[in-house]
């Protein structure tokens, strides 16, 4: 019995004790998204119950469906554990009491159940049959939402560090071969085969090698890495250790975004526990493999997601990318060979080692193996974090898992891969989601952020939004990116204001080509993607903005005006009172009117009108602007 097995036995005993204990346990989803949805007041409310009712509260990560947050799960001895969603602070105590005392699981509020060993049956469907979770294949998110991220024993009890223990008996080369055979590719965005990357770096002569976990995740609209770190940090750290062993690195770095304070706390706690359990530092688990991990916080720079900029940032410099070659595998941090892997890539490694590469290679398509986590946000009914095998069609993701479009509006397109990605129209709903296909469509997999947009979103404005983001986050080193993105933004701003001219089309395309061909790093090379894809798939909207001076989605403020529809207006005066600039006039109970010269289009009247009497009308129809 090596000391590792004793560790695991002890962990399993405490895990089983927790699940079989008499006193009921409340699992609360307390990742950042849970807290934003108000889980902390819910926990406070349940704590007050402790005075009357013996119970224990365990904070767990997010199980995925953010739209149901805050989520709690109530575990009662001899009964299935019931999950409840959208729990507000006031009704929290009542729900828990009903189930524990009155034994009434309130099926209407429940979102799913988890049968406990030799527990009684229940009519509530299993949580895993919940529409959002059914079609998923949770490998890297296996523990998220179920285990306490701050308790290493929970991880150990669920096959934690088995892979590391197994790897320590294997030769590093075989570990690399195993990862190569699994077909695992970088989940950060480029999709470079992980096995190859490790092989190149291991081949370097210099003995001092490093591994870096890229947790910068700057893409707006993407939070997969955060959820994974806050839900199951040890999975990532175990992957980092295995990578370190495979290329015989001396040290590992974690570069985590400063905007994720909770994730940083989870990492700190996990590292402390690993040291205590002998899983870090000298002779890990008694082997001759020693490894140190240092956590470095980013400081607010999207460009630091790019490899060489990240390396510069770790070295305490300005995060300005460097030309490749030489690639980081030959000349990385401190000039030494370095492997840089994304959080999700490292998180998947333990599962591959445990179950073997053939098992993992069964998932996904011929070239894009395995599963990928996506953050499903925007105008979707069921938004949240999902993990599906690569090659799943967009239709399954949007409709089966995502539950279709919010308020049943018309599904227009998805924006995938963040500011370096592209906008894929709804017509490609049956396209499989994998690296090759997305590149073919002009987008990139990127970190996997899918933002669903409906007919109320203007793609030209969306492209402008992304350009504004990349222009703001450009490091400013090379000309095409520093000046090109600014000029591209100027062009789009002109178009959005209705001042575009015909030759702007040609200039847009040429400038986009110049930036992507001329830029030094990934940020610049992919910055024009949003413009290029929207130009290819939604050219009619550009024509509408440039030629007809209309915004079909009524988003571009300079192209439409607010008008009150006299018939439906009930004269309730809400708009007149709420208007910040006094642009609305009219008597009580009489149809009101809006002075379009004063109106600053703050949208307050449109959103608050009970009778939905306010219309957005194209400016050209209202005012005959003489050219």
């Amino acid at each position: 019995m090596t000391d590792f097995d004793t560790l695991v036995q002890k962990a399993k005993r405490s895990w089983d004790k927790l699940h079989a204990q008499k006193t009921p346990v409340i699992y609360a989803g307390a990742a950042s998204c849970g807290r934003a949805a108000g889980v902390l007041p819910v926990i406070e409310a349940i704590k007050e119950l402790k005075a009357t009712l013996p119970l224990e509260i365990v904070e767990v990560g997010c199980i995925g469906p953010c739209y149901l947050e805050p989520i709690i799960a109530v575990q009662k001895k001899g009964h299935p554990t019931i999950f409840y969603g959208n729990v507000q602070a006031i009704q929290a105590a009542e729900i828990v009491e009903n189930y524990l005392v009155k034994n009434d699981p309130q099926p209407d509020k429940a979102i799913g159940a988890l049968s406990s060993p030799n527990g009684s049956e229940t009519t509530i469907p299993s949580i895993w049959d919940h529409p959002m979770l059914k079609a998923q294949k949770r490998i890297v998110l296996k523990n998220c939402g179920l285990i306490d991220p701050q308790n290493i024993e929970h991880y150990l009890a669920n096959d934690g560090y088995q892979a590391l223990n197994k790897v320590l008996q294997m030769k590093p080369e075989t570990v690399i071969q195993e990862i190569t055979d699994s077909g695992l590719r970088g989940r950060g965005g480029a999709g470079f085969p992980t096995g190859l990357k490790w092989k190149f770096t291991r081949a370097e002569k210099d003995p001092e090698k490093y591994v870096i976990c890229n947790a910068d995740e700057g893409d707006p609209g993407a939070f997969m890495n955060r959820s994974l770190i806050e839900g199951d940090p040890h999975a990532v750290l175990e992957g980092l250790l295995i990578a370190g062993y495979a290329i015989s690195a001396v040290k590992g770095y974690i570069y985590c975004r400063a905007e994720y304070p909770l994730a940083i706390q989870r990492f700190r706690k996990a590292l402390k526990d690993m040291r205590k359990f002998g899983l870090l530092g000298e002779n890990i688990l008694g082997s001759d493999f020693s490894f140190e991990i240092e956590l470095k916080e980013g400081a607010g720079a999207f460009v630091c997601g790019e490899e060489t900029a990240l390396i510069a940032s770790i070295m305490g410099e300005r995060g300005m990318p460097r030309q490749k070659p030489p690639y980081p595998s030959q000349h990385g941090v401190w000039g030494k060979p370095t492997v840089i892997n994304n959080v999700e890539t490292l998180g998947t490694v333990p599962a591959i080692i445990r179950n073997g590469s053939k098992w993992y290679a069964r998932f996904g398509t011929e070239k894009s193996k395995g599963t990928k986590t996506f953050s499903l946000v925007g105008k979707i009914r069921r938004s949240g974090l999902i993990e599906v095998p690569l090659g799943t069609t967009l239709r399954t993701v949007i409709y089966d898992i995502g539950g279709g479009i919010y308020e049943d509006k018309e599904f227009k397109a998805i924006q995938v891969g963040g500011p370096s990605g592209g906008t894929i129209p709804a017509a490609f709903m049956d396209e499989p989601l994998d690296y090759e296909n997305l590149n073919k469509l002009g987008a990139i997999m990127g970190s996997g952020g899918i933002v669903v947009i409906d007919s109320d979103t203007c793609v030209v404005d969306l492209a402008r939004y992304f350009l504004q983001f990349t222009e703001n986050e450009s490091c400013g080193k090379c000309v095409p990116c520093r000046i090109g993105t600014k000029q591209l933004l100027n062009l789009l701003t002109k178009i959005v204001k209705g001042e575009g001219t015909i030759d702007d089309f040609e200039l847009l395309e040429e400038l986009a080509h110049t930036i992507s061909e001329g830029s030094l790093c990934g940020l610049g090379k992919t910055a024009p993607n949003p413009v290029i894809t929207t130009l290819t798939y939604f050219r009619d909207e550009y024509v509408a903005h440039i030629v007809d001076k209309r915004c079909p989605a009524k988003v571009c403020k300079d192209l439409f005006v607010y008008v009150v529809d006299a018939e439906t207006c009930i004269g309730c005066e809400i708009c007149r009172k709420r208007c910040p600039v006094g642009a609305v006039s009219g008597e009580k109970k009489q149809p009101h009117s809006i002075d379009i010269t004063k109106c600053i289009k703050c949208d307050v009247c449109f959103t608050n009108c009970p009778a939905k009497a306010i219309r957005k009308v194209d400016k050209v129809d209202v005012i005959h602007v003489s050219h």
Binding site: A37, E69, F223, E259, K296, G300, G316, V377, G378, C602
Partner: protein, 182 residues
Amino acid sequence: MTSDSLKIIHHDFKLSDNVIKKIHKILVKHENDPRNIIQILQDIQAEFHYLAEPVISFIAKELAISEHRIYGVATFYSQFKFVKPGKHQIRVCMGTACHVRGAQSLLDKICRELHIQPGETTKDGLFSIESVYCLGCCALAPVMVIDDNVFGNMSAAKVTKILRKYRRANAPRKTPAKGGGK
């Protein structure tokens, strides 16, 4: 455009003894290693809320590196501030999901309410506002964060209510006899 308008030297920031003591504590924590300059600056900002010129030139002397390199690194990252921020820091998320759900009009509403532009601090020093990219709770777009508490599903109407709550919390204690404010 004479050049003296360029100077943003903080004469008002005094390098008192306990300030120096705090700085030394931070430097020692990072082994006086210039390679950890970013982590050092993060601790300095956590301690003094912004990076003042006297502090940066002091650190430069201690670590024997050029203060200009430190300034160059500090101005690269958006986390570092060079102006005294407000007591309460408001951050409006401009991530994709929030943008698509009207974050821009939310930001405009707050700026109208506080009469400042993003990156500035209100005259009474109570609030400073900035737009940030993706705080990672996209499902609750649009999102506003004040100091550490997060407000999801924000709307223009809620803004006034929340700001008033903060103002009241910071209003000077009026003697109760006179009756509460408006």
